[in-house]
Every structure is written in C-alpha cells, then in structure tokens.
C-alpha cells in the first residue's frame, strides 16, 4: 500500500508539472507509513477524517485509485462527482467521511462520529488525522476535552511532518512535544517514529483496540517527514526546506527491516512496484478518459 501511495502521488506530481492538473495539490510523499500504519488497524464501519494533505489516508483506507484520480481531476466519476477535488475527497460509505480544506476542521467531526457510533451501539471507532499545523488550532483542544468527557471511541493522529505549510513546525510550536499536550486532557498520548510503519501500526492498533473496547480516546503523534513542498508548483516563492534524509524513507526502511529478518525484500518490492505501477497507471488512464461533470451538477446538492 505504501508503494501504491508513493506511485499515486508521484504521478500527480508529474501531471502537475505537465500542466494537466487543476487547482492545488498537497502530496504526502514520505508520509505513507502514518496512513498505512493506522488504517491497517481499522475495520469496515470505522471512519476517518482527514486533511488537505489526505490522499495517503484515503488510499490506505482502501479507496479506489481510479475514483480518487477522477475526483482530483474534477471528473464526473470522482468520489464527490468532481465537486470536492484534491483537498476534499470523501467516501463515507467506504469509511472515509472526508478530507477537509480547513486546518483542524475535521477534528470535531471525528468526535461526533465516534459519539454517534457509541450511542447507536455500533462497534466502530473514528480516527481524526491532522497535521502539526492543526496542533496549534484551538478546535483540537476543544475536541480533546469533549472526547475525553464523552469517552468517545476516537483516536487523534497528529501527523507531524516537520512543516506548518512553509514554516518549520518548531518555529511556531511551543513546548516539548505535541503528544505531551494530550496528557492535560487525561488522554493517553505517545509519539512514535512515523517513518516506521510497524511502530505506527502497533501504537495505533493498541489505541484503536482500547477505543473499541470502551477505553476511550487517545492521542498519537506520528513524527514523519514531508519530502515535497507544501503544494506542487510552489517553487517560485517557497524557500528551501531541510533536506530529507534517505534513511527516513518509510518504504526503504520497511525493505531493510524485512531484509534483516531474512526475507527477499528487494525482490518482493520490485514485484509489488510492478503490480502497483500497472494498477496506478491504469487507474489514471481510465480517470483521464472520464467525462467532466454535467453543468447541472453545479446547482445540486446544496440541500437534500
């Protein structure tokens, strides 16, 4: 799945370079381990809320790459019929209520989703993905408090990629760690190496299990690295970022871990890369061939 996400995102970067994308895209290259580590611990019926940089969460949740591409390209067959775009992919029926263009905007939705699941006797949990930027939004702390009061089955996942848009996170974030802030609300919080998919998964699995069994909410800070800019096409004004270190690549790291454990990891990776490349290319070609939404769709869906 990490390979699929990487190829999906790289193909979007390529489309952008070639002037074939409309709007703004925020890519998740380098952050695959957080999405995959967490979503692989979820079940059908669980829900996630995500962010403007959310393709990896959606793909990891199992969304169809063709319908993802179609949405990002503004085509009729996209998940939202071409009315959401890159920052707002949503597929509630598939367990992804939605990405959100407002930093922190989706966090309280996850609390409400979790509360509803609890009240309706469903055995479901909600995960709120958000970035380090949202760690400085008041609504996060309001939501942590509410989730703790309601003992809502929700996991807050702060994906700390080191940059708040264009600004280094540590320049605009006080205190020792974002994870430590959760303790003030009585939430168990921990920070994990967000480039190690196994470590992310194990922490998420425990937190989700706890939420599902009535143990209430918890908080996970996944410390990862963003390999590309805030958004594609920013070269004309963005300042250089800290150089990413090769050893931080979550896919490389997984390969090394498996290799060290005696698996034929390189061969396996090549095999998967071949399969996923074909899948992603086919999805993109099919999405590009889809029609644009009919004009009448612009005037629908305001109200039921």
């Amino acid at each position: 799945m990490m390979i699929r996400i990487r190829l999906f995102e790289e193909s979007l970067a390529d489309l952008y370079r070639r002037g074939l994308l409309v709007g703004v895209v925020h890519l998740s290259v380098g952050q695959e381990a957080t999405a995959v580590g967490v979503c692989s611990a979820l079940r059908r019926g669980d829900q996630i809320t995500s962010t403007h940089r959310g393709h990896h969460h959606m793909l990891a949740r199992g969304l169809d790459p063709q319908r993802m591409f179609a949405e990002i390209l503004g085509r009729a067959g996209g998940y939202c019929g071409g009315k959401g775009g890159s920052m707002h992919v949503s597929a509630p029926a598939e367990g992804a209520v939605g990405a959100n263009g407002i930093v922190g905007g989706g966090i309280p939705h996850a609390v409400g989703l979790a509360f509803a699941a609890k009240q309706l006797g469903r055995d479901a949990v909600a995960v709120a993905f958000f970035g380090d930027g949202a760690a400085n939004q008041g609504v996060l702390y309001e939501s942590l408090n509410l989730a703790a009061l309601w003992q809502a089955p929700v996991l807050f996942v702060c994906e700390n990629n080191g940059y708040t848009e264009f600004t280094p996170t540590d320049a605009v974030t006080s205190g020792e760690s974002i994870a430590a802030r959760a303790a003030s609300f009585g939430l168990p919080g921990c920070a994990v190496d967000g480039d190690d998919v196994a470590e992310v998964h194990e922490a998420a699995r425990q937190a989700i299990e706890q939420a599902r069994s009535g143990g209430g909410p918890s908080f996970l800070e996944s410390r990862t690295h963003r390999w590309r800019g805030h958004h594609e096409g920013e070269e004309s004004y963005a300042r250089p970022y800290r150089e990413p270190v090769e050893s931080q690549d979550p896919i490389d790291r997984l390969e090394r871990t498996l290799s060290d454990a005696g698996f034929e990891a390189k061969t396996l990776r090549e095999l998967l890369e071949g399969e996923e490349k074909a899948l992603v290319e086919h999805a993109l070609t099919a999405a590009q061939a889809e029609p644009e939404p009919p004009i009448h769709r612009a005037f629908e869906d305001v109200f039921v």
Partner: protein
C-alpha cells in the same frame, strides 16, 4: 396531526420550542440535545428536557462552540439528529468555520454523499441592555453563508411546529428565537407550520408589512392601530427565511402594490434588503410605491436602553413608514 398538537399545551414561545424538541425526542431515539447549560435550559428551548430524557440525551457541554457544533456535524453524518443550543446566536461566530464552511458546505462538496440533519438553536435580537455581542440578529449572515435552513418563529404556534420541522429536516437548520418573545402568549394549533411558510395576518389590501420575530409583533400592532386611520394593512410574518416564502410575499405585494420590510438586523445586505430586491425584481409591475426598508442602522446594538431602543425599528417608526408608503 391533532395528536401531535395535543403534545404541546405550551402557551408561551420558549416552552413551545422545548415541546417541539420533546415530541421529536419521544418519536426518535436518534435525537440528542447538547450545548451550554442545556440541562437547566437557561435560554428556554431546552428547559425540562433533561427531566424527561435524562443526562444521556441532554448533554451539558464545555463552552467550546466550534467543537460541539463540529461534533454535531460528525454525529449527524454518523446517524444521530443532534439539536445544539448555542445560547445566543452571535456565539455562532465562534463556530463559524464549523457552521458555514463545514455544515453549510459538506453536502455540496461531497457531491451529496452526506446528509446533515442537525439543528442549531439560539436567541436572536435585543432583549434589553445586553449590548452588541448578545443582542444581534445574524439571520442575514446565515442566509448569505448558504447551505443552512433558517427559521425565526414569532409565536408559540410557529415555534412548536418550526422546531419540529427543523429536527425532522435532513438539512442543517438554524432556529432563531427572540429573547423578548420567550414568554409571549399564544396556543399551539393543529395546523402545522413548515419550512418555507409565512403566516399572513391580518388580511388587508393597502400595504404589505413584511417582518419576522419581534418586528412581526410590532408590525401586527401597527396594523391594528392604523385601522383607525382607515389603512388596511397585511402583515406577512416571514417565519422561515430559508426557504424564503416568496410565493406568499409576492402574492401579498401583488394585491397591495405597496411594501414596507422591517428587520432587526443591520440594514446593509440585510434580510430586508433581500426581500426588497426580490420584490423589485419579481413584482415591479405591481408596485404603486417604492419598497421601503426599515432596519438597524449600520452600528452595533448599544447597551444603554435608550440607545438600544433608538436603533431598532419602533412601532412609531413602522407606523410612520407605513403611512408614507400607503399615501405615496
């Protein structure tokens, strides 16, 4: 229908709102109430609900408007039908991202994949010396925001039926109630008032007086008083602002050819402006006089009672404008 009406014996507006919530909670276990101090029901619309439905369904929240409105969005997507009491409707400004960018947008942005059956109820208008941050009528902001149904009942009858309609609606609905009308008297009749309705009373042929909330009461009082001067006034109580009851408004104006629109919101881009413009566009040929708007001048609501009264359209001002338009 009559069995539902019998469920509300309320004779005042705020208890009628509470009855509107209660009938919905009885018939649908997915209806929950939360907000600030909803168990004691400090603002009226939730008073008594905790006694019947318990603290599990009537939930006191921290003063975190963005989070509890946002949680209502998530809960609505997740299958509940939350009713959020935000106390004063100007407290929605704290939660404007959630109300406008989220509740008002998500159905559209997801291509219709989500429905958001949630209600935000709050007082709106000046109750006397509460100053600008607790006295505004933000209805025009909600209309401009889009994606939100908005109702503003002025009688117990309208309050009961519109609250019930709001909770049963699959769209997000803002229910406004005027703090000066909480104990206004009236009975809940069996004929339902629905989203998109206006209530016309009394019937007249000379001038259409179009208003909502407290201004609808003042308009009715003026209509009564001007009978003695030989004026026949028809008051259109626009108790639903979205959907706007255009048919009723235009039918009245086509009959009278004259309209005064009274609004407790600020004049610029006000509900009165929208109604006046709509009349101008759709019924220009029927007009025998210019459409007059009466609203709060472009200042905040002041604290001192004399100043407050000076900026809100009074019965005297409404009567003067009505006379002028009647004779224009």
């Amino acid at each position: 229908m009559s069995s539902i009406a019998a469920a509300s014996t309320a004779s005042r507006l705020a208890p009628a709102l509470a009855d509107g919530i209660a009938v919905c909670m009885r018939e649908d276990p997915r209806v929950f109430v939360w907000g600030e101090d909803v168990r004691i029901g400090v603002m009226g619309p939730t008073r008594g609900l905790a006694d019947e439905f318990g603290p599990e369904r009537v939930i006191d929240c921290p003063i975190s408007e963005a989070a509890f409105v946002g949680a209502a969005i998530g809960a609505a997507v997740g299958g509940l039908r939350p009713v959020v009491d935000i106390m004063f409707s100007s407290f929605t400004y704290v939660a404007f991202d959630q109300l406008v960018n989220q509740a008002g947008r998500l159905r559209y942005m997801t291509g219709g994949q989500v429905t958001l059956p949630l209600v935000v109820v709050g007082s709106a208008g000046a109750a006397g010396a509460n100053a600008a941050q607790h006295s505004e009528l933000p209805s025009a902001l909600f209309l401009q925001a889009g994606g939100l149904r908005v109702v503003f009942p002025s009688t117990p009858h309208q309050a009961f039926w519109l609250m019930r309609a709001a909770i049963r609606s699959d769209d997000p609905v803002v229910v406004l109630h005027h703090p000066a009308l909480g104990s206004i008297r009236g009975t809940v009749e069996p004929e339902a008032v629905s989203l998109g309705d206006a209530v016309v009373t009394p019937i007249g042929t000379g001038v259409s007086l179009i208003a909502s909330g407290l201004m609808a009461h003042r308009a009715r009082a003026v209509a009564q008083a001007l009978v003695g001067e030989g004026l026949s006034i028809e008051v259109v109580d626009v108790c639903s602002l979205n959907p706007m009851p255009w048919e009723t408004i235009l039918a009245s104006v086509e009959k009278t050819g004259r309209a005064v629109v009274v609004d407790e919101g600020r004049l610029t881009c006000s509900v009165a402006s929208e109604i006046a413009a709509g009349i101008g566009e759709r019924a220009f040929q029927m007009l025998r006089a210019p459409v007059r708007r009466l609203a709060v001048p472009d200042v905040p609501i002041p604290f001192a009672p004399g100043l407050e009264a000076a900026v809100i359209p009074s019965e005297e001002e409404i009567a003067a404008a009505t006379r002028e338009i009647a004779r224009a």
